[in-house]
Each structure stands twice: as C-alpha cells, then as structure tokens.
Amino acid sequence: MGRIQKNTSKLFRKSCDLTSPLCLVLVTLAMLGLGIVGLFSCSQSKESPYLKIGLPEEPRSLNLWLGTDANSRNILSQIYQPLFRRHPETLEMIPWLAQEDAVFNEKELTYTVKLRKAKWSDGSDFTSQDVLFTRQLFSDFRIPRYHSHWQVIEKAEAPDDHTVVFHLKEPSAVFLPRVMTAPMVSKKEWEQVCKDALATEKPLRYLQDYQIEKPLGTGPFMLQEYKKGAYIHMVRNPHFFGRGQTIGNLTLGPYVDHVLFNIYGTSDVAILALKKGDIDYYWWDIQPGYLKDLEKDSAVDLHYNKKSALYYLGFNLRKAPFNDKVLRQAIATVVDKAFILDRILQNHGNPMHSIVPAGNHFWHNPDVRKYGEGMDKETRIKAAFQMLSDAGYSWEIPPVAPDGSLTKPSDILLPSGEKMDKFVILTPPADYDPKRAFAGTMIQEWLRQLGMNAFARPMAFNSLLETVKGKHDFDAFVLGYGKLDLDPGYLASFFSSKNDNPRDWNMSGYRNPEFDKLAEMQKTTVDVQARKQMIFEMQTMLMEDVPYYPLYNPHIIEATVNKRFGGWVERVDGIGNIWSLCMVQPVK
C-alpha cells in the first residue's frame, strides 16, 4: 500500500517537474519545424511522373464481387474487362475483349463471339475457358446484377480457345448491352476460391469476403500497391491487349506508366489539392459551389458533360389524391423546371422532359407531352387552375380570380367535394443532396399557390428508401438516379405492374396493361429500330400519365489540371472512364 503510493508519488514528481516552460517551447517549436518539413515534402511531391487522380472515398473492396461502389468500380474497371463496351461518342456496342462483332443466328438463337488474343496481366493467355468459367461463376453464385441477365443464356460452349458460342433461351434485346458488358475473370485466379466457397453454406458471402492482394485482369493497368485510407498505386499492364491498337478509331495507350489514386475524405480537400496541382484529376463531379474560383484558375480545365441521370418527382398512384392523372398533370404544369435549373443547378444541366435523359440521344424520345413549357409563372398557374377546375376540383377562393388576377387560394377541394388533406413531399436531406432537398422546398411553395397544402420534408436517405421503396407509405417524393444505364431497359423495371411490390422498382405503383405489354415485348426484340419504336411509345405513355415527373438532369462537371497531362476522352457521364485512362498522355 505505502509502497504503491510511494511509486505513484514518484511518478507525479516526474510529471510535475516535466511541466516546465520548456514543454511549451517544445510544442511550438515542433509545430513550426514540422510545418517547414511539410512544405518541403509537399514541394517535393509536385514534380513526379505519375498521373495522379483523386478519389472522394475509400474504395469498398478490390474484390470485384463486393466492390460495387463507384470508387471500387473506378479502380476495378481498369483491371477486369468485358467482351464488349460502348463507344465513347456513338455509344454503340463495340468489341473489346472480343475480336469482332458478335454473330447472331436467328433460328439457332446463338451468338458466336470471337475473342482477341489477349493476355492476363501475369502473361498467361485469355481463352474461351475463362469466359465459360465466368459464366459458370455467375450462375453458381447467383452474382447480383449479372446473374439475372445471364440467365437468358441456356448454355455456352467453346469450339476453340478463342471462340465462344452462347445458346439463348429466347431472343434478348439486352444481350450485348447487359450480358456482354460483364467483366471477365480468370479461371486461374478464381477456380480454387470458388471450390472452397461452394463448400461453405454462404458461398456468395465467402466469395465476396475473399481478400485478393493483386486482382488479375486484362485491362490497361494493374495494381501495384494499396495503402488503406491513403492511396492506390497502379502501373501499366505490359500485356494489355489494346496497347497501340486502334479500337473505335481511338489509338489506345496507355501513355502513362503509373497512376496514383489519392483517397480524400471530403471534396473540399480534394479540390484544393487539385488547385495546388497535387492531383491531375478529381474523379467525382464538382458542386457548383466550387466553380466560381475554379473557373478563374487557368491551370484547371473544367469539363461539362451530359449525364445519363434522372431526377424526378414521384407520386404514389396507389391512393388519393395522386391516383388522379389530371392532378398529377396539373402539378407537372406548375413546376417551373427552368427556375429549378437556373437556381439549383445554376444552369449546369438541362431540363428533362422524358424519363430517358436527352444525353442518351439514341433512346431519348424528344416529342413527348411537355408540361408548362415556356410558360411564365402566371400562365402556369392559370393553366393548372383550368385543368383542375375542368376535372371538378374547386376552391372557396380559387387561385385565379374571375377578373383573371392571381389570388391566395383557400384549400383545394377534391371533385368528391371534401378537402384535400395535407400531403408530404419526401426529399433526401440537404447534406446528402442539396439539389433534391431544395427542389422539394420550391415545389412545395408552387403547389401552395394552387391551394394544396404540401410539405416538403427532408428525410435521412435510409429511412426515405425504407418508406418509399420498402413500405410504399408516402404521398410524393423527390429522388433520382445519378448513373442510369444507357440501355432503356430500366423503363420496364420502373413501371411494369409486376414490379409493384415492396422493395421492388415500381415505387409509384404505376399500372398500365398496354405499357406492360410493350415492356415485355421490347425485352425480346432484337431489332434495334423496332425496339426503339416501342421505347418511344412507352415514354409517350409515361409522360401522359406522369407517375414520375422528370425535373432536371445536371451536367457532370469535372476538373482536370492541364499542366502535366491532356487528352481526356469526353463522353456522356464525364471523362472518368477507361477510355480517358487509355488516352491521357503527358503534355510537352
């Protein structure tokens, strides 16, 4: 006891004597000293041969079965390659790991794909066995995203090392865009893992949780080093099949030997790093907030590109009042897209008139019904008022007085005569996506001018989805998809009535037999032009019934530093794509 105390008291003696002015001096000195060292180290980092790219967040995983988030895909898409991919300008499917276009046999229902003489990054050959293996893997593990599409293949066979023949159950419109764009993996790398995995009772989980040090791919780059929370270092893949080749009139590189991905936690920091020249490109779109001073910076190039995205106002068609088409159309009429565009996107984007974004020029139907196009505020309200009163809605005090002047209306009454009770427009919270949040607020204000008491309510994203997608317990909501696939297949999944059940994709509960029929048909229509007609037809229907009302489609704005590297490949959805990484080269 006493002893213990003695020791401790000794301890304190030390501690107290240590706390001398020296301590203070030390601290300050340390800070300054390190400050200087830091400056030196930063300046050192300025000149180096690497292409430096900033990532907004830590990639989820380098295991492609788990790493499905944007950041992981950015990395993995440099490694694992599909058989076909879209051309950056024409957006048509062109052979990638495949040698030439797939040959379709109408009556046999077979696709025959010739493969390139490609090599895996370890030097071994890429053969049709790998393709078969990949297909087997998809079905064995029911890999999310791929399995559902690959089911269309009845069986696949490999007549020789570089030919694969796929036998289809039924004709598929999305065979190339959806099936053939799946990444191919090496039998060598995965065979053993799969065996082990299938032995466990949770095969997929095992597969996903399997830690791979060095992913084995056929892409332009391969992983050199991954320092968690800090950076990913990739080097050129000496065996990349595309090197020097001209694919889709682009002569591929890559022309850089090293790519260094810096992982930043927040956009501010990454963008400042960009301005300081610490990175050459920030792989994320830039909030309009930053543009003002980025535009001033001559060393920074800004890239504005169309986006295959959809931001929309969704209604719950399952219950009143939004089960009434006219009401939805009226609302569509008062929503001032131009204003939203101008205020929220600060004009970096374009208004959306159809579910399929205009950026996707092949599938986008330009002449669907447009609401409130080119009207000013007053005419909007009057038009909406007209539509509503024609449909039997009424007010104590209507928004438009007999003399044609606008007034503050009383609560709107449904055709049935009773009051329309207040409804809530759910939006993501301002920190998750300010655009959608504020769009919600504005729509609320506009609807109130029609005498509806609407309330925009920001809601944490998790519970928002839970309410809208899971429980279907909502009035209206503002949501969006940042990255819509370029194939319009999603129209079917969003609006076919068979998908109108909890957790499924038809969130607003749109039910239209004709639409369903078309949706089914287009799936199996291999003739592109025919399919295009159907897709157009579907878009027209949707814009007539407005289960979703498309609001805006932002540009994707990206920034690069033009001092060291140039030659980024612009494309819908921006310059962040494998083409850029194959084309970028140092500037003289």
């Binding site: 501690s15 400050g35 980092s45 399995h147 949780d209 800090a230 992982i263 989805l465 957790r503």
Partner: protein, 324 residues
Amino acid sequence: MAKPGYILLKLVEVGIIFFVILTALFFLFRLSPGDPISKMVDPMLTPEDMAHLIQQMGLDRPMWEQYLIYVKNFFTGHLGVSFHYGEPVETIIWDKLKWTILLFTTSTVLAAFVGVFLGKIAAWHKGSRLDNVMSISALVCYTLFIPWFALLLLWILGFQWGLFPLGGVLTPALWISNAPLITRILDVLHHLMLPLLTLFVINLGSYLLLMRSSMLSVLSEDYILTARAKGLSEKVIRNKHAARNAALPVITSVGLSLAFSINGGALTEQIFTWPGIGKELIFAVSNNDYPLAQACFLLIALVVLCANLIVDLLYAWLDPRITY
C-alpha cells in the same frame, strides 16, 4: 481502499454492464429500419438479388438465432466480417485504432502537461491579471465548438497559410517514391499537426481549469501553511507540496478523457479525414454495417468502462482521504 474484494466486485460489475451494452446494441441495430442493402439504388439490382444478399448476410434468420450466433462468435473472439469492406472486423479496427491512439494519446498527454503547468501558475497568482487572462482564455478554449474550431484551423493554417496538409495521414507521392523512413515519419507528424492542435487547445482549456481549481483547494490546506512555517521557498511549496497533490485529479481525468476522446474524436477525425475509429464508426453506422459498427461501439464502451474502473482504483490508491 483497493482491497482485492473491491476490485473483484468492480470487475464483475464492469462485465455485467458490458454484456448489457452488447445485447442492447445488437437489438438496437436489428430493430432499426433499413438494412445494409436498403441504400443500394441500383436498377440493375433485382429484388431476388437483394433477397439473396440478405440471406447471405444471415439477416434472414430469426432474431434470437442471430443473437445467439452473435454472442457465441463474440466470446469465441470472432467479431465477424464487415458487410461493407468484406474484411474481418478485427483487422479493420486495428487499422483505424493505430491512428486514433496516435492522435489522442499525444494530444491528451501534451495538453495535460501544459495544462497542469499553466494551471499551477494561474492558481498561484490567484486574482492577478495573469490569472484572469489565463483562466478566461482557458474557459474560451474549453467552450470552443470543436468542429468549428477545427474548420477555422483548417481554413487559416491549412488553406490560407498552407502550413499544414488539409487532411489524410500521409503524402502518397512521398511514400511511393520510397523516401527514407525519417521523412515518412515527419510526413505523418506533419499531417498529425492540425488535428493534434485542435484537440490540444480544447483539452488544454479543461485541464488548466481543473488544475487551477484543485490547486486552489490544495493551497488552502494546512500542510501548505506548515510548509511555509518550515521556511521553505515559495517555489518548493508550489511545485513540491501543492502541485503534486493538485495534480492527482488531473491525472485521473486524463484517464477518463482518453476514453471520452471518442466523443470529440468522431468530429475531429471527420473533419481532418483522419482514418480513426471515430470516423469509421460514423461511416459504419450510416451504412448499416452492423458487425463493424457494433465492434467499434463495443470497443469504445470497453475502453470507457476500463478507464472508469482504473480511475476508481487509482483514486482509492492515491488519495486515502477520498472515500466513495
């Protein structure tokens, strides 16, 4: 005082509390709306896919079964595999913990030393201008809103003057160009500076105040008078007789604040993108990464509980006059 019985009792208590937390946590997570995949808004993901994923995560099992598995795993040392990273939770946590420990021990210890030193002075010159200046500024430091202060530092020191990096723990370019070890260490320290400074200033305030008040109460003790009567010099009285007694509560509170640093830690780490436990916890929680979040929180709880336990015992040892 610290009889073995007492310690044992405390240990048992801690054990029970911990288990309670463990259980509460589990059900909290499971009963909350949403699940790890509810955030995936990817039209390519069919409901079947989702169901499959859920099943693979073992979230389709009945609650009690999940719970039993969870407890069993926990006591057999398996904290599980992160849903998000697909890595064993232990390895992830250890990765992050290193950084947290580095940041917080340094800042707390530094702050404690300086705080004790200044607090001593302030108390000694009670009522003087020096004292007023010190204790007021300490108050200010203490009540500063951490994130705001952090952002200000980031803005001024990092952005305006460019003295320090704006986030992260190292300069990638420096590390891959296999620089000498010393440069790397300096590089990390350099990244450490801003978060360190933030926490330092804020802790400093509280320690200074604590030291000051405890010093004051000690100075009114009789043995200080005795010391005077012996004809000891002021310096000896202050540093030897007063400071050492006054330092006790500070030392103990260092223990506690190390545990509670998690609170402020989450914020600081978030702002300086310091890859520590606090940041990870927030991330895991907002992604419904149950295993990771649970492990993080359990870790925190454990640390806090142990810290309290140790402090209890310390008190019992150090100061026979205190009884509770």
